[in-house]
Amino acid sequence: MEREPRATPRSSDTARPVDSGDESGATAPREQRIGRAFVNLADTMVDDFDLAEFLHMLVDHCVDLLDVDAAGVLLSDQRGGLRMAAASSEKSELLEVFAAETAGGPCVECVRTGEVVASADLTADADRWPRYAAAAEACGFRAVHALPMRLRRDVIGALSLLNGEPDGMPVESSQLGQALADVATIGILQQRSIDHAVVLTEQLQTALNSRVIFEQAKGMLAAHSGTMTPEEVFAALRGYARSHHHRLSDLARQVIDGTADVEAITAHGAS
């Protein structure tokens, strides 16, 4: 057994999300935060590496460092489709899920081509991606930069940077975003890389299954609370995981196994 299927405290400080509120959080100078992001994303050689958790960290770093409103990741499901794997907010999650399910939009094109696909104004580009543009508008986004997560010939997914206003994203931001995506991809593919195809499959499929468990846990917590929506549960679950230094995927598994403190988790959302 490689991993204990229980929520365990994080073994190292570097695995903690950027905005956890401690001294290493968003108040540090930007240069320092950029440096820390690269260190965090390169730190994949740990025994309990968890891709779902790692991608959450990636999107959080993007929002912290890149002057974007939201970020999301689509991953290959290795069956010819894409799945939403991480998002920094509920709205960006909805949009990524929509893109994955309709197999359309800049992020999907980005995975298909392995190149950056961007729209500084989705309203102006509505004839190119009509359904995606409409969905983006409904979620409050007008601009998107989709950056490939690729290493040589392997494209494992796309990192989408989203803005509420039409933008000309500064070149520097786009380049830094690609650098973050690159270091994350290299980290994932080289993670315990005796046989990277095996590890990648195991990681990708774990991340996809974690998403399903996460959604089921959201529903269970919503029902326990009696009134919370799954969206409110999302915030409560993340907040609780952070303040107790649990991994989100471990905590979600505890919820569906019936071993989590559901009262405390839902109370976290109310405070």
């Binding site: 057994m1 069956r79 010819g80 489709g81 399910e101 095996v198 774990t206 959201k218 529903g219 029902a223």
Partner: protein, 238 residues
Amino acid sequence: MQKGGAVSADRREHLQNLLAEYDNAADLLRGICDLCVTEVAVSGARARVLGATSVNGGGALVYSSDELGVRLDDLAVTVGLAPCFDAFELGRPVLVPYLTSDSGRWPGFTADAVTAGAAALFSFPLQVGGVRLGVLEMHRRSAGPLTQAQLTDALLLADAATDTIFDDVHGVALLTLSGLVDIHAEVHQATGMVAVDMRVSLAEALLRIRGHAFAHHRTLTEVAKEIIERRLRLDDGE
């Protein structure tokens, strides 16, 4: 990776067509294991149902395409530590292209499995998040990894086995290939809500939602949305 979504869509259709001739779960699982041999180019495959709580106790070998599969299954159950149990517990495929060099991972299992003739094992969990049903394990008498195309087929066949076992356990009509794995996030959320509200397992909750959708000629997603918005509450009469 992503090297042509269209190719995989074709594969899905291809496998679906090959499975279309079977009209009951037992035959379908036999067909799926046999397709592992012809399409994924392994020596054999077996499907095992596993209980959600007890790894060694609550389970049964449903079908094995060959004698080696039966032997491997027997070994796994006897020893208790084996790739198929790891796949089930971890909720992800466990791929062992070179079994002989992995001797430390499953002490007691590997040496006997190699002696029996296995050189590579590929275990796929049959589950939808917390709905955990069993394992599809493929074995090969020669070592080496699956190709990308073989991996895609293996995942699609595991999806089909998941649907088949879910439907068989719960006695409802067969879904199409990948029906359960492709369902929307709302359905998973609604499954969690119904499980708590009705005090049933996640599998049972998913079944109730599907039953309701089927009985009222509505889509799973529509029913799920109403449950999440608390406009619909399934009760015991469903």
